[in-house]
Amino acid sequence: MTDTRSPGQRNRGSLSVVRPAVLGAEGAFETFITITSDGLVNAHNGHVDLGTGIRTALGQIVAEELDVSFARVVVILGDTAVVPNQGATIASETIQITAVPLRKAAAQARHFLLTRAAERLELPAHELTIEDGLIRGHDNRSITYGELIADETIRLELADDVPVKDVSAYSVVGRSVPRIDLPAKATGELVYVHDVRVPGMLHGRVVRPPYAGVDAGPFVGTSLIAVDEASVRDIPGLVAVVRIGDFVGVVAEREENAIKAAAQLKVSWKPGPALTDLSDIEQALRANPSTPRQLIDKGDVDAALKAAAKPMHRTYLWPYQMHGSIGPSCAVADYGEGGIRVWSATQNPHILRGDLALLIQRPESEIDVIRMEAAGCYGRNCADDVSADALLLSRAVGRPVRVQLTREQEHAWEPKGTAQLMDVNGGLNADGSVAAYDFATRYPSNGAPTLALLLTGRIAPEATVFEMGDRTAIPPYDYENMRVIANDMPPIVRASWFRGVSALPNTFAHESYIDELAAEAEVDPIEYRLRYLKDKRAIDLVNAVAERAGWTPRPVWKEPEADGDIVRGRGFAYALYVHSKFPGYGAAWSAWIADVAVNKATGHVSVTRVVAGQDSGLMINPDGVRHQIQGNVIQSTSRALMEEVSFERGAVTAREWGAYPIIKFPELPEIDVLMLPRQDQPPLGVGESASVPSAAAIANAIYDATGVRFRELPFTPERILNGLRQPVTPAPLAPPAPPTDLNRWPNPFAKRGGMLAGIAALCAAAIGIGAAVLPWRAIAPIARPDASVYSTATIARGKELAALGACAVCHTSEHGIANAGGRPLETPFGTIYTTNITPDVDTGIGAWSYPAFERAMREGIHRDGRHLYPAFPYTHFARTSDADLQALYAYLMAQPPVHAETPANALAFPFNLRPLLAGWNALFHQPRPFQPDPSKSAIWNRGAYLIEGLGHCSACHSPRNALGAERQAAYLAGGFAEGWEAPALTSLSKAPIPWSEDELYAYLRSGESRLHGVAAGPMAPVIHELAAVPDQDIRAMAVYLASFNESTDRSAHDALAAKLEAATAVTTAASAGARIYQGACAVCHEVGGPPLFGSRPSLALNSNLHSDAPDNLIQVILHGIAKPAVTDLGYMPAFKDSMTDGQVAELASFLRLQFAPDKPAWTDVAATVGRIRQTIAR
């Protein structure tokens, strides 16, 4: 029979299993399961998938209990409008706890449908079978779930006593099922909150306060002085600047403009508050006020300690660490008429909704938080600040706003995994047994209120104390005399739950300490543990892991056989992760055997292999469990080896992956996962357990390798060397270089203080000479010449010459029209603006006759008779031939005229007196055309003509005297311009490989010499202009410049390059600077690294690293290369907003030591960084 109803009317019935809402109106309910009459199943769970695959596992559970195929089940997570409020997704409890009502709801629905089918089919229920929602009797009659529901709306209240399936009947649960989310993720479908696009959506960014990472104290929410909206007025499409208390945000039509506005916005803050000094974490934790809370007191600890034959007092320290989510937080909010919607990556949608309601003073019922997937966050998104940020901005502009934090904000402001201090007082009895275990842990609380609530002053910025440090604070060992104290304390730095929470540091202490006891007792550490372990499943696990790893008893420490500098060791640790409110409950059991290799010379620790065993009870999706174990092993190995948040004056300074490195592929241990078959036992949380034994297993392995105990994380090379009593000795410094005044010179056109007095004195002398020289006459203006009188060839030649002279580089303002002038040149005397050299009659050179132009080029005199400042290099242009000057004139006159007034120079007296320059010219200028040297080749002379004349290379590359004139005796010996060093082009070059004709040609032609580096700073636009110059002229310039260097042998240079690169390969990261290099620089600079778009400059060969001055290196680190000479070279990001002066200085010093090991260390690098930060980026 044909169904004549419209699709909308068809199949409208449903069966739901619900419970009364925890909060909300009378009669409101929350749904767990809905089966529609078309047979689809919606499963609702209040927890969210943090990337662990629980969406898949929950679907398996529902499919199993409901007897439908896995493909039929849609799992809905985290949308506050439709999912039950089951609290925050924390503590690995989704499967163990939160899935229980869902499972029961599925069983209840199945039971209801089966009962109804029995009635319809008039058969006893136990004679029916179910296959994918089809109920069949032995007589082959059948009916589907959908048919049983039909048009009815059936709502069942969740019952607690529903029988669930026996494990032996499972066919979906317990089998590995592919993750349902991966095809979408692997092909770029809309998955993440970052991908949400709402019609009319704008882009927002926030500006955070200077107290980076601190969220308690009277200054929080009260530190903003002013926001200068005018500072961002030029940003295209800027919609709003929003300020509420210390909350500051910008909104723009386009994302890149929101980013620019946030970076450019001038915000004044009150002077920085005195934050807790975190240079000594242990001291800071001891000084933080705390309240002791006794968790257990068994036997007589004090008496046992007194009687101990060998007392052992130990302290273990865990640093601040980052969750380090790969995707900075993002949210979209739509504060609309019809309701408020927030697309969020929160871990706790319902709690967030309460916070948002409080923030904007609206009822919760008006707000729908829609949870989208996010980058893995491991506890960080318990405080999904950005959702509140987006809501405030959307409310301010009345349109949907998407906000994403910058990487720097994510690093600085993510609530950290907190530092923790564990003290153990205990010891051995004479028989080697444990006398007592007196354990105290200090854990700053990790409440992390939503930041916008604090910044806007909606809630008070008080440091709240919670009972959080007690997770797994009681060791798993049955010590006769045991006392455990949790010292509850307020946060120091903003913190939230982080995978393994306080259990991880507590276990580091428990499992290190028992290893120390075993060593003192001279008993194998596993055997010793088994003496005190009473839990049968724990014992089984420990034995299984020991067997799998081939553990050999090691009762007494023996120095291992070294392989060169490498010593190897093996360590064990075990934990039952006990979490949630004390006394809490256990998740999966976990045990590790870690193998390490320690380089005693460098301090580098490599975890080579981990056998990770786990008893997880019933594994819903065994592949999912395996992934969680592997993920935990890798992440916690990273945390143990290298992770530690850095602070300066109490504020977080690590703002990118160089300052906070995480483990990279080549550093991975081999991982052998052992999953105990316990499918008959209830399922246990597996999201964190395998992290918990990590640090202790590795520390115990390092002890096995070296005989030294390390009780503080992370196990960096510096810490290991220090522990091995071979502290890092800085490489011996070479004697200071002899003063090379040829390379440092006072340039009147570079902004440098401290030399004004001397210059002024010399100027006075020049005035005397200048006064004796008669002023120049004006040359009469003409009507703009008709460019059509010049041949196309002449104009084309003129264009090449303009490119050679790089006229447009100086005569064009930032984002201005080419050659229309207006570029400010900062000098110690004030600011000079370059002039308009388009043929506009009023504001340019349109009224200039050729004689006037030629006089300017040769004599430095304006058409009106004024002297031009020698920032204009007429001293070079004077050498140009008449024919070339005429061609250049023709080209300039053939340009479109642009009306652009040149701003008035802002020069202080007496430098604003142009007649002074007559004296300067008399002293330093010889307006003679170029004279070829008959003893040299034609090509050499051609090169000389180009370089000395229009090319004016020595204007930057020669040192100058105190009055700013080039020192002829030091021609091309290097100089400074615009805050950059223009290196020597002669044999005085500091480059490790001399310049050759071929390399000069390559550099001038392509912007890159493999043996020296790429053009950057002021040289990049010069190379860009040279693209218009023909090959033979570039070759001539190379020939000429090469003649100032020693003769070359290409193969010798290549061999030297290979040798230098091999000798300076980075193998360890034993300093902060080295770690920054590996995290931030190596991706594009490591020799032999994977190809990326753009060039791959080799730092070992780079001239800048071998120079006496760090300026160019610092310039390029701070400002990057935004405008390369040619786009093929690629781009370098600016790190100025991601690194502190101290970090840049550490990096620059490391690079010098590493890549120019034969050169002396630079001095005062941090001060130079500070100085260069103030100069104009180019």
Binding site: R179, A186, G188, E189, S325, F665, I671, G1094, A1122
Partner: protein, 155 residues
């Protein structure tokens, strides 16, 4: 400015210094490349430019004119995935999946220049792609599988 992305030309109305990433995500509504660090450190934003892996967060569109840009979407779709995408799905090579774009693109670039890499070469090729969840083991297997290596089954 005209950009060629996934074989199609797009005229984009954005400032020349706009990072390619924002144009791909916002103007072209592509989800594959993701913002991770803005400094080229993590690889989440990777795309192919003229067949070479590139970090779209640090490359302005003015550097992309006339170049052939391919994103994750351009490799293949759910119905017709690229062999590299297929290998990553088969090996379940992601947890949260935020880094997955970079892992797939980087593997694709590796296999383009070296169709038969060793495991060591895979590790080195992926050295500068960060994964925080610890999905590395599956990612390595996926890359090896995409390269045609026969993998041992896991127990």
């Amino acid at each position: 400015m005209r950009l060629t992305v996934n074989g199609r030309n797009h005229d984009v109305d954005a400032a020349p210094d706009t990072a390619l990433l924002y144009v791909l995500r916002n103007d072209l509504a592509l989800n594959g490349p993701k913002y991770g660090c803005g400094l080229g450190e993590c690889g989440a934003c990777a795309v192919l430019i003229d067949g070479v892996a590139a970090r779209a967060c640090v490359i302005p569109i003015e550097g992309c004119a006339g170049r052939d840009i391919v994103t994750l979407e351009g490799l293949g779709t759910r119905e017709h995935p690229d062999p590299v995408q297929d290998a990553f799905i088969s090996e379940q090579a992601a947890q949260c999946g935020y880094c997955l774009n970079g892992m797939i693109i980087t593997t694709k670039a590796l296999l383009t220049r070296n169709p038969n890499p060793s495991e060591r070469e895979v590790l080195e090729a992926l050295r500068y792609n960060l994964c925080r969840c610890g999905a590395h083991i599956e990612i390595i297997r996926a890359a090896m599988r995409a390269a045609g290596h026969v993998l041992e089954a896991r127990d």
